[in-house]
Amino acid sequence: MKKSFVGFKKAAGYLALAVGISSSLVGCSSGTNTSSGSGSTGKTEKKVEEIRVVAANHPWTESIKALLPEFEKETGIKVKVDSYFEDQLTQKTAVEFASNSKNIDVVMFRPLQDGKMFHKSGYFADMTDYVGKEKGYTDDFIPSSLGSVKDGEKVFGLPLVTETEVLYYRKDLLEKAGIEVPKTLEELEAAAKKLNDPAHGVSGFVARGKRAAAVTQFSSFLYGFGGDFMKDGKSAITAPEAIEAFNYYGNLLNKYGPKGTLNMSWPEAMAVFTQGKAAFYTDASSLFTNATDASKSTVADKVGFAPFPAGPNGTKPYVVTSWALGIGANSEKKDAAWKFIKWVESKEMVAKLQAEGNPGARISVWNSPEGTAKFPKDLAAAIAENGKSGTPYDRPVVINVGNARDTIGDVILAAIEGKDVKAAAEKADGEFQKILDSEK
């Protein structure tokens, strides 16, 4: 009896050892298999290369996915696209890059949000040589757009999507009430007040109210009132013009906005507008297909666009490069990655994508009649008008943008809630200055 138990013990012990050893060997054996396999086939046939593109949930990504077979046929390079919502994208890519993962070949990023931080952290491969090899390649890109992905002469990305803040409005509602399209912020407030009709489920105005998300769309209001986030490295959010802007924006949402704006980023605010529950909406131009596509919007044929209304200090809406493409620093397929970027950023592709509603950064495409042919006419006009006097950033230009946005977002929140804006701004001012000082 005892003997058989010892035998059992031994057997179990061997089993445990065997499992442990074999599981540790699995990694090695599979590694040798693949390397020998590719070695033998590499001689006879072309190796199939696959690159991984990590992108945002954005109309551009939707468009490009449909066009990928063309690229795969042309180059034989397979493309795998992973897409995430903006905040998750920043987090996901940062974690992968920081762990020195080799798996990201092409990365879609926000130059104004993550650009500086990612570049400083060594996440991006240097693209200067790739871009330099193609003569005159960058001449066709909008200079300010290109500037947002460069550090001195070093290029770490190529601009992909440009946008500016425009006024979305409901043509039918304005017509019915006999109201002209507002040209100034004053007129906008008056019109929003007149059209605000909560009893029938229509608000006068909707825009982002969620802490960090609101900051970019608030920026055009801030510039219109003559304010800015910072001046000469000092926080400027307690300046009288800034306070006025905070009050104006908060007041508009507080009095004429729908319920629940405090939790609204663009998907929520856009939903309110496209469900026909708001008369005016200010947000990025690049999101327009959400409002004009009849499968997503109940008011698709009633949406009008106008340039951003002028404030007391004139009209200075942001005109920015919201998205860019870069190459992962640790990618082992940098050449293939560059081939992909070169392809999607080529004149023909940008023209094609822009025709589908993805505003790009190429001058020649914007100048050609086809470049804006599929845009609603009033939107194309509004984008052109904004471009004349635009501001090239929509958030504080710092390294730790996330922290700075939250800090300033607190003031917007206080304004929307009708709290003491001045006190909130003073509190945020101290914290914002601390961020600025820490980056000197």
Binding site: G13, T90, A98, G122, K210, K259, G260, N400, E417
Partner: protein, 292 residues
């Protein structure tokens, strides 16, 4: 070889588990502890910089951190208290001989089985202030609609309500198991002595249930302390910072502000809190005369 295994049999058997625990639990905690004394923003170029206790110092002067601590305790205590009372009630109900007991039991357990993120997203729709069913319901009753998750004052109670909805069944389940295994004789004796229902509940059922209740509360409390999914799926800590519990704040510090050192320090504080609560509860159980 055989002899070696024979001599070290206890090590051979336990090794796989020990290696697993070391790799998957001790190492991450140790690394977090190490990071909490460094300043690092996830850069591949500049390595973590030793700053001693700076991260902890900054943390305890950070208004948002103190607020997040408060919110965490508020959330945990309120939801676990409500869940315990309702859970015991539910368990007693389900322990009676009612028609369709099996179906009722299954239905009550459904919320617990659902994925928290999906639960969160559904509740976002329910709480939606313009078209959500919660406000439609209130308005049918002639009450004014509320802003729920988008109101600074209502957001925490609204979240607690979700948690109670989702996790009361778990307490009920554990308590029900305890109830079923209770001996019958004390009740018979009490009945003969003329005890009424309330007396037999408070003098017999509750004391006998104590060990079960302690386990249920401990499990639920640790879970509630680290609630992340429901809050992140519904408000991400908003509006503003009014539902930013310590877990959400840690996430924000780490992955939105890239202050990895400070986020690690925060997690170490959190670790100590959870650990002391667990030890405290276990001591309580021991005093109640039960072994783990």
């Amino acid at each position: 070889m055989t002899n070696w295994i024979d001599r070290n049999i206890k090590w051979v058997f336990t090794m796989p588990a020990v290696i697993f625990v070391a790799l998957m639990m001790v190492m991450p905690v140790g690394y977090t502890f190490w990071l909490s004394f460094h300043d690092w923003n996830m850069s591949n170029v500049t390595p973590p910089l030793w700053v001693a206790f700076e991260n902890y110092k900054v943390l305890f002067h950070d208004e948002l951190f103190l607020k997040s601590l408060k919110l965490m305790f508020y959330f945990t205590i309120a939801s676990v208290a409500i869940e315990t009372v309702l859970g015991v009630g539910l368990a007693i109900l389900m322990n009676q001989n009612i028609v369709g007991k099996g179906i009722v039991k299954t239905l009550f357990l459904l919320p617990m089985v659902a994925t928290p993120v999906a639960v969160g997203l559904i509740w976002v729709l329910i709480y939606e202030p313009n078209i959500g069913i919660a406000n439609v319901f209130l308005q049918k009753l002639g009450l004014p609609g509320q802003e729920w998750l988008t109101s600074q004052n209502l957001v925490m109670p609204s979240l607690i309500f979700i948690d109670v909805w989702e996790w009361t069944p778990m307490i009920a389940l554990i308590v029900l198991a305890g109830l079923v295994s209770l001996p019958k004789d004390p009740y018979e004796a009490a009945m003969i002595d003329g005890a009424n229902t309330w007396q037999s509940f408070s003098k017999i059922t509750l004391p006998l249930l104590k060990p079960t209740l302690y386990s249920a509360i401990l499990l639920r409390m640790i879970d509630a302390l680290k609630t992340f999914d429901i809050i992140y799926a519904t408000t991400q800590g908003g509006p503003g910072t009014s539902s930013q519990t310590i877990n959400i704040y840690g996430y924000v510090l780490g992955f939105q502000y890239f202050k990895i050192g400070q986020a690690s320090a925060l997690l170490m504080v959190f670790f100590v809190i959870v650990l002391s609560i667990s030890i405290f509860t276990i001591l309580l159980r021991k005093r109640a005369g039960v072994n783990l």
